[in-house]
Every structure is written in C-alpha cells, then in structure tokens.
C-alpha cells in the first residue's frame, strides 16, 4: 500500500522517492511551474511551484513527499506570491505577447492567465537583449528568456552537446551560446535536438512556421494550463 499526504485537503498517494510535484501531477493536480519538466532533474529555480508544507514554504518540485504531510497549494496567499513572481518575470524581460509567435502556446503567459495576472504591476526593466537569427532553422529571441535552464539541461543531458549555458549573476544572469562567436550558427545545434523543443516561452523558435495556427486557436486559448494534460511539456508544439 502506498503512503499518502494531503494537498488542500485532498489525499494524494505517492511512492517513496517521489517529489510533491510528481505525486500531485500523477493525481491530476496542477501546481503552477515554469522550470520544472518531468524529463529532467528539478532545479527549483523559478519558485512558481512553492507550496506551504506544515506551515513552511518549499518548492514542490524538489521536496520529497513524506507520509502525513499537510500541503497547501491553491490558496489565495500562495497564489498571490506566485502572481508576484510571475509579474517580476514579465518586467525583467521584454514580453510583448501580441508580437510573439509563441503567444497562446506560452507557458509563462498561460500561467499568468491561471493566476489572474491583470498587469505586470512593477516598473519595467526594458532590458537591451539581442536576437540571434544566425542559425538557418532556428531563431533565438533572448528578450523572452526566463532563465528556466531547460534548454541547458536538454542539450547537456539528452543531446550531449552543451550548446546552452547560463552566465553572470543576479539580475545580470543571461543565456549564452557555447561557441567562440557566441552565435547559434557556429554550434552543431539542430532542429531535431531535445533542446529545441523544451523552451516554455518564445526564445527558441522554429523558423518559417510562424502563425501556422492563428492566435485564438492555440493550446491555451482552447483550455487553461491547469487542465490535466495541458501543461506544455506534455504537448510540445511546433
């Protein structure tokens, strides 16, 4: 018999070794997240999946489930903090949804919808970030990067290429390309790479496919991200 804990009063079974996020996902409970992907080791960087466990906050993607845990997730207090984190992500980058090909398929945007984010609230940074269009098949728009590092993990662990890395510290942290020129064209990156599929926002885009599905008919236009099976990693587009 498996052990159990509760999330918002609902009893969740789990296997020893599973995280709270894994057990919740298996039970069909959506916990907002951006840097978590079931195929990769969780790094707990975005903190969107923060829950309250026995009165203390913790990232549910890295926290091992234990029998008898009392987890609070979908509460106004926790969601308000998630909404604030999401607002900070929006103002730290240049997220202009109407001109983004990923709009409607974007996990950041869909999570903000889920959390009822009506405005970014904080002052915008409007950072100066270049676009890398050097690769024949792929466009990189760093303006939308949220530093989830999923492309870094996918390239290193699945593709065995190490095309991406995060460099710098604090607000200066940014995504870099592992080539002497710093350009994607000077790497062996390929459209078939796992790293080309995992970006939850509109940084890594396949060229010449823009607006194949009209805005308004895309994944999260149809159903919210909280619907089981609608989390982006399970239905990667493009």
């Amino acid at each position: 018999m498996s052990q159990t804990f509760t999330i918002d009063g609902r009893v969740i079974p789990f296997e020893v070794g599973q995280t709270v996020m894994q057990a919740a996902s298996q039970a069909g409970i959506y916990i907002p997240h951006l840097c978590y992907h079931p195929a990769f080791k969780p790094n707990g960087s975005c903190k969107l999946c923060t829950v309250k466990v026995n009165g203390r906050q913790s990232a549910s993607c890295t926290l091992r489930a234990q029998s008898g845990m009392v987890v609070e997730s979908d509460t106004e207090e926790i969601n308000a903090e998630r909404r604030m984190l999401t607002q900070m992500l929006f103002v730290e980058g240049n997220h202009f949804c109407p001109s983004c090909e990923k709009s409607g398929n974007c996990q950041l945007q869909a999570t903000a919808y889920h959390l009822g984010m009506m405005s970014p609230h904080f002052d915008h940074f409007f950072p100066d970030r270049a676009v890398d269009a050097s690769h024949p098949d792929i466009l990189l728009d760093f303006n939308r990067c949220i530093l989830c590092s999923l492309c870094v993990q996918a390239s290193r662990e699945v593709d065995k290429k190490q095309v991406f890395a995060l460099s710098g510290r604090g607000i200066g942290t940014h995504l870099i390309i592992n080539a002497r020129s710093g350009r994607l064209a000077d790497t062996d990156f390929s459209l078939a790479d796992k790293a080309a599929q995992v970006c939850p926002v509109g940084v890594i885009l396949k060229k010449r496919t823009g607006f194949a599905v009209p805005i308004g008919q895309r994944t999260y236009d149809q159903q919210p991200i909280s619907v089981p099976g609608k989390v982006a990693e399970e239905i990667r587009h493009d």
Binding site: F96, M118, H124
Partner: protein, 183 residues
C-alpha cells in the same frame, strides 16, 4: 417627483495607442444601448470633448506614454476620474510602441526623418507646439496609480463589457479564461 437616476460619467482617451482598443469598445455592439442607459461619455474621442470634467467616475486610458502630452493627459485623467482603467497592452506594458525602447531616440529620429529612403533633405520636426518625445515608452502605471487593467491587443468587446458591467453592479471586475488575453 422622482429624480432620474444619475448616470455614471465615463471619460476615455488614446495616448500612444492605435485606437484599436476604442474599436473594441464599439465591438460591444448593441449592448452599447444597454450601457448608455447607465453611463454617459465625458471627454472621449467618441464625443470630441477636449478636457475631463472634474467629476468623472471612470477614466479609460488606451495607449502608453511616448511624449509629454501623453503624460499631461494621463495626469488630467487621474485627477478627474475616481476609477482609472488601463485598457490594452500599450497602456499596461507599453505594447508595440515600447519595442523602440532599446534604440536611442536620436537614432530613431535620424532614421525616420533623415536617412529613410525617399526623405531627401528631411528635417526633424522642431515646432515648439509639438510635444517632446520621451526617451522611452512607458506603461501608464509607472506614472499614476491605476485601479484596474483590461489586458489584450486589443481586449475583446466582451472583456470590456464584463469589466464595465461588473463595476456598474458593484462587483470586483474579473476576467476568466477566454476573456483574459494578452494578445
């Protein structure tokens, strides 16, 4: 004699926007007649009244801030309207105009008035009556307090209708899935 119920006074304006949000306001379609039973328009491109009355109940602002005139109008709205609503992506995050923010203003003016093809002997307009452009485009909440935001580029008529009718009914406005859009 029973006095007729006072109508809610609504002012609207477009700052650095494209008037798409005002077009969406018209997309409320026949429900506009229902709306007009409860509201009257004050300063607005729809009425062509030039300044806000001091007793406006709701101010609706489309567009961001790209010049000093925009800031002047925004402050007039904040001063005269009890509730201020940011309508659409430009008012909320600068939108399309803000995508010039990583380029120096001087370079932009040079490109537009001096070096673009077909602009022989062009000059950068310098009439003192022209409002000075800002070095960056800003969303309106960076200058005044904003009470509510209706995201979208533009928001749908349904979304605007929902927020206005929620406010008229004394409810906290809420846009659920399908009405809440950033694109």
């Amino acid at each position: 004699m029973i006095e007729p119920r006072k109508k809610i006074k609504v002012a609207t304006t477009s700052l650095a926007g494209c008037f798409g949000c005002h077009m969406s306001l018209l997309d409320i379609d026949q429900r506009l007649f229902t709306l007009l039973e409860h509201i009257e328009f004050d300063r607005s491109p729809l009425t062509d009244i030039k300044t806000c009355s001091p007793d406006c109940d709701i101010g609706i602002v489309e567009g961001g801030l790209c010049n000093t005139e925009n800031i002047h109008v925004l402050r007039e709205f904040r001063r005269n309207c009890k509730i201020l609503i940011a309508l659409g992506a430009c008012a909320i995050n600068g939108g399309l105009p803000a995508q010039r923010n990583h380029l120096p203003l001087a370079v932009l003016l040079e490109e537009v008035y001096h070096t673009s093809p077909g602009l022989a002997n062009g000059m950068i307009p310098n009439d003192p009556e022209l409002p000075l452009p800002l070095d960056r485009v800003h969303p309106i909440h960076e200058v005044v307090h904003v009470d509510y935001a209706i995201p979208g580029c533009p928001p749908s008529g349904d979304a605007i209708w929902k927020v206005l009718t929620d406010l008229l009914a004394g409810r906290e406005p809420e846009l659920g899935h399908g009405l809440l859009h950033y694109d």
